[in-house]
Amino acid sequence: MPRSVKKGPYIHYKLAARIKQLNDTNQKKIIKTWSRASVITPDFVGHTIAVHNGNKMIPIFITENMVGHKLGEFSPTRIFRGHPGTKAEKAAKAG
């Protein structure tokens, strides 16, 4: 079930405050955040936000197309390094 429209989109309050502060002072700084569940609003466009993926911060430049998505969608948490079998094949081919 989607979130109630009445509540509006969820944005972590500190993140929203940072964005507002940067917009008011016309600054562009990388904002670090752990709040992957925050929704990207039009205010975010043009900023670079470093989103934690459980290991490190992934810097994301926010474009207009990303509005409405959540920050976590752009900071993948898993790395696929290939299956064990195929890896051996690749190594054999290379070496």
Binding site: N65, G72, F74, G85, T86
Partner: protein, 127 residues
């Protein structure tokens, strides 16, 4: 033979089901179109007069996106996801399910035919 938005409708079927041969029209949309065009859904397509077909065509083109236009819209939506580099876009790029389904087994529709990997001998019953 009735031809609507580039698709030949099967003439031996009832209109309600024949319309569903058009991409983007299912049972619900079909019934909706017919009620708006005031045509009995139980009539056969071969029984339709030219005016009936024109009526259906008018309702359909004014209210629904079908066939090529719909396909390109879907494609654009997927392309947008891929371009912004979102998780769903990455899944589309890799040809894997995008809505969190399991991929250890199943999801053959997205992954296509099984590719047997050499050297994977364990679990011989499962392939």
């Amino acid at each position: 033979m009735a031809r609507i938005s580039g698709v030949d409708l099967p003439k031996n079927k009832k209109v309600l089901y024949g319309l569903q041969y058009i991409y983007g029209i299912g049972h619900h949309t079909s019934a909706d179109i017919l009620s708006k065009a005031k045509i009995d859904p139980n009539r056969k397509i071969s029984d339709l007069t030219e005016e009936d077909v024109a009526e259906i065509r008018a309702v359909l083109t004014s209210e629904y996106k079908v066939e090529g236009a719909l396909r390109s819209e879907v494609q654009q939506n997927v392309k947008r996801l891929m371009d912004i580099g979102s998780y769903r876009g990455i899944r589309h790029r890799k040809g894997l399910p995008a809505r969190g389904q399991r991929t250890r087994t199943n999801s053959r529709t997205r992954k296509g035919k099984r590719k047997t990997v050499a050297g994977k001998k364990k679990t011989p019953t499962k392939k």
